[in-house]
């Protein structure tokens, strides 16, 4: 890091009286330097993934009838809850589909990018103590927050611009340039609002984790308000208008092209930024608005062995994952009857389903289970990679200098990854099974869906095993496991629809699991997957035992 925070010229005879914004420009360049890889990756990933999904639309819905069948699905409040308020349904063009159904999930990633970046540059810097170093120089009181806002808002504007250029250049029927710019702006607006939310929560909470969590909770609330509002009536209800996500959707790009709802987003951002500034002047550096709570002076009985520690470290995230997965699984199951009707009107999906085999419902359930399997694999990798961050941050060292062996320590995190991901698939099976069997009036469905979910466990374990093998054998390359996750995700979600070649699907661990309940059960791949996972885990444990412990200190 060779950034100079204050230029020598600032020290001339009379020290210049710095305003509250002194140093903002330097800080902006400093933040851009630190994020020179991270932000572009986020932005490109979001834009490219959106474009790739849009390109697939003409293949999925080649005829007007196909598209109208899709539109008819929006009469169900449950479907509107996970897509949009319902507009442009009379003439459901690709453009209408894009803005009505895609915006709702694109903004999840945009909001995440924004609030994480915002907290990273503000509260995280304070928590690690680096902010003190910066604030002791000629840096104004409001400079950090301002610089972070400039960077994050700028990132969102670039994202919106690239999104508009990307979508417009596809030359798709009904996806015009003007509307694409509105879609880009609507996407960016959510990111901008949540930059403001991050600016406020970073002031409130003493820890970066807590600040991100609080901002994430605000997003969840905004998302739920919109979902609830959109469920009440087609076109969105009052509650939809209480949410920044709702405002973005109410621009109705490619249908009505309304710019004015974005004024609400701009207004809210200004209010949030002002609130953030105000709070930041009313507290000390490093302090929060909420006092950190005290805890027990002695460790409870469960916090004793290495497994007790691992469980304690993963506990709250495991609980949240379980809760969300179960809730979503339950929600998806209720759509079972709708799906049957929808798919029967859709030629392309019928082809895809014919390829998988079985009834429409079975095929649909098997795809949903596969999506949840990818989610569980993400959890497994996150849990396994905790070992890496513990090692890097110097928290592995005190544990490994006690009577805990390296394999046991790594095994404790691995156990959470393996048991946790299996539990997530169990909850998927139960949640999806209960609601689907209720909706279809078929009690047997519960057991079939549960079986289908659990069949994915060996493949998920293989993904976790890859993470452990990398950790043990090539620790610096551990992050590459995310490439595996990305591949598994793309193949899992789009493979069947886009008709990927067999070899491409076989390259994904999840590609080997029989797609129950549609396909027949075959045990061989599951045994092979389990053996492969065991082999990789043993290799990872042996590699870790043989290598030096790495820590930054």
């Amino acid at each position: 890091m060779t950034t100079t925070v204050a230029s020598p010229s600032a020290h001339r005879a009379m020290p210049k009286r710095g305003g509250p914004l002194t140093g903002t420009g330097t800080l902006v360049r400093f933040m851009l330097r630190r994020d020179r890889l991270r932000l572009p990756v986020w932005i490109l990933a979001i834009v490219v993934f959106t474009m790739a999904s849009v390109v697939a639309l003409p293949d999925l819905y080649p005829t007007v009838e196909d598209r109208q069948a899709r539109a008819a699905l929006m009469e169900n409040p449950g479907t509107r809850a996970i897509s949009g308020p319902g507009y442009g349904l009379d003439d459901y063009t690709f453009g209408a589909m894009l803005s009505h159904e895609f915006l709702s999930w694109v903004v999840i990633f945009v909001a995440l990018m924004s609030l994480l970046a915002m907290v990273r540059h503000t509260r995280n810097e304070e928590e690690t103590g680096r902010a003190e170093l910066v604030r002791s120089r000629q840096v104004g009181r409001l400079a950090t927050t301002t610089a972070a806002l400039v960077v994050v808002v700028g990132a969102n504007l670039i994202l919106g611009l690239l999104m508009a250029l990307g979508l417009g250049s596809l030359g798709l029927d009904s996806v015009g340039w003007g509307s694409s710019f509105l879609f880009g702006a609507a996407t960016a607006s959510v990111g901008v609002v949540f930059a403001g939310v991050g600016a406020v929560t970073a002031q409130v909470n003493e820890s970066a984790r807590g600040a991100s969590g609080l901002a994430g909770a605000v997003f969840a609330l905004a998302y739920l308000l919109r979902a609830a509002g959109d469920m009440t009536q087609v076109g969105g209800g009052l509650l939809s208008w209480l949410s920044p996500v709702g405002w973005a959707q109410q621009t109705r790009a490619y249908v009505d092209d309304r710019w004015w709802p974005l004024l609400l987003s701009v207004g809210l951002t200004l209010v949030l930024a002002a609130l953030g500034y105000w709070l930041s002047t009313r507290r000390d550096v490093g302090a929060g608005m909420v006092e950190a709570r005290l805890g027990p002076a002695n460790a409870s009985r469960t916090l004793s062995g290495p497994f007790g520690l691992a469980w304690r470290l993963h506990r709250s995230s495991a609980m949240w994952w379980s809760f969300s997965v179960f809730l979503f699984a339950l929600g998806y199951g209720t759509l079972a009857t709708e799906v049957e009707r929808f798919v029967s009107e859709l030629s392309v999906l019928q082809d895809a389903i014919a390829e998988i085999g079985g009834t429409i419902i079975d095929a649909w359930l098997s795809v949903i289970v596969l999506i949840f399997a990818v989610v569980a694999a993400v959890f497994a990798v996150l849990a396994a990679l905790r070992a890496r961050s513990e090692e890097n941050n110097g928290r592995a060292e005190p544990v490994l200098s006690t009577a805990v062996s390296k394999p046991t320590w790594l095994g404790s995190h691995l156990a959470v990854a393996l048991i946790g991901s299996a539990a997530l698939m169990f909850l998927t099976g139960i949640g999806l099974g209960i609601s689907a069997s209720q909706a279809l009036g078929d009690g047997d469905m519960l057991w079939r869906v549960l079986g289908a979910s659990l069949a994915h466990v060996p493949a998920i374990w293989l993904v976790a095993a890859i993470a452990v093998a990398l950790f043990g054998l090539a620790p610096r390359a551990t992050v590459l496991v995310w490439v595996v996750i990305a591949y598994v995700g793309v193949v899992g979600w789009l493979g069947a629809l886009l008709r990927f070649p067999d070899w491409a699907i076989n390259l994904s661990p999840l590609g080997h699991t029989p797609l129950l309940p549609a396909e027949d059960m075959v045990w061989t791949p599951l045994v092979v997957l389990t053996v492969a996972a065991t082999g990789l885990i043993l290799a990872g444990l042996a590699g870790f035992r043989r290598r030096d412990l790495q820590s930054t200190a």
């Binding site: 984790r209 950190a292 005290l294 460790a299 916090l303 004793s304 470290l313 200098s401 200190a553």
Partner: protein, 301 residues
């Protein structure tokens, strides 16, 4: 007397950087041994090899009669460690971390734990992320000292402590020694090692350049003498081992090599001593002599 730690020709490199370059070290049972050296000399690397966290590239190392790399878990039951940079889990309280680390080692002495928490004035109910550097260090120190370990490995244990707490730390270490435990601590703070250590090894660029008791080392170095006499001192320049002689009316100042001290003091006695001050070499001076060439070459650069 048996050796608790014994290394011979120990080598460790990170890429092209040679961290340890033939380190010979010997720590005897029951002593407080200080490993003294500037930043980057290889102190932490030595400790991490002793803990089996790093594997030596060459040479031999034996600790408590075992191989630190192969017998890590067995040996760790018998030792306690305080890292140089203490990192705690943000969501665990200090008290929880102390108990956890103690249990992972195989149990801790509850009475002593509570007593140490009290003596170090540590609030065990605060979360890890809210502790200052000094308080994180206290957590690690209490966790290590509350154990019944026979060997304590401490990497710059007082770097973040205030002077008051440093005194408490010194008292506890001396108490540990009285109980017959072996303490091996690294430091670049000379005064601290001076107060605690029975024996010292000076490490520089991955090698132990000198090892022994402070007295033995002082023997190898110069004592500064400041004397007032009734009659002017003569003939000093003819004696061996005199340096930097500065004589004025009835007063002489000079440095004398340890082994010639006796002869010089006898010589001074002939001139009617009125006042005599002698300054034993401080560890700073010891270090300066060992790093003097480095300092000099840096000065030229």
């Amino acid at each position: 007397m048996t050796d608790v730690i014994h290394t011979h020709d120990l080598e460790k490199s990170y890429g092209t950087v040679m961290a340890l370059d033939g380190l010979d070290l010997c720590v005897t049972r029951g002593e407080v041994h200080g490993l003294l050296g500037p930043n980057g000399a290889g102190k932490t690397t030595t400790l991490r090899i002793l803990l089996g966290l790093l594997r030596a590239d060459g040479g031999t190392v034996e600790m408590l009669g075992g191989d630190p790399w192969a017998d890590a878990v067995e040996l760790h039951r018998r030792l306690a460690y305080v890292p140089g940079d203490v990192e705690l889990w943000p969501n665990l309280t200090g008290g929880e971390a102390i108990d956890l680390l103690g249990r992972l080692r195989g149990g801790l002495n509850q009475t002593r734990r509570d007593e140490l928490v009290d003596r170090f004035d540590l609030d065990p109910t605060k979360k890890g992320r809210t502790y200052s550097k000094g308080n994180r260090q206290k957590v690690a120190i209490v966790a290590a000292l509350a154990s019944d370990a026979e060997l304590l490995l401490l990497d710059e244990p007082t770097a973040g402590l205030d002077p008051l707490m440093e005194v408490v730390f010194q008292e506890v270490i001396l108490q540990m020694r009285a109980e017959g435990r072996t303490v091996f601590l690294s430091s670049h703070i000379l005064a601290q090692v001076e107060k605690l250590a029975d024996r010292i090894s000076i490490i520089r660029q991955g090698k132990v350049v000198q090892s022994g008791t402070l007295t033995e080392m002082r023997h190898l170095t110069r004592t500064t003498i400041d004397a007032h006499t009734a009659t002017p001192v003569t003939g000093l320049e003819n004696l061996n081992g005199i340096h930097d002689l500065d004589a004025s009316d009835g007063r002489v100042r000079f440095a004398v090599d340890g082994e010639h001290l006796d002869a010089v003091v006898k010589h001074l006695g002939q001139f009617g001593l009125q006042a005599l001050t002698s300054h034993p070499p401080t560890l700073e001076e010891l270090m300066l002599r060992h790093y003097g060439d480095e300092v000099a070459s840096r000065g030229e650069g």
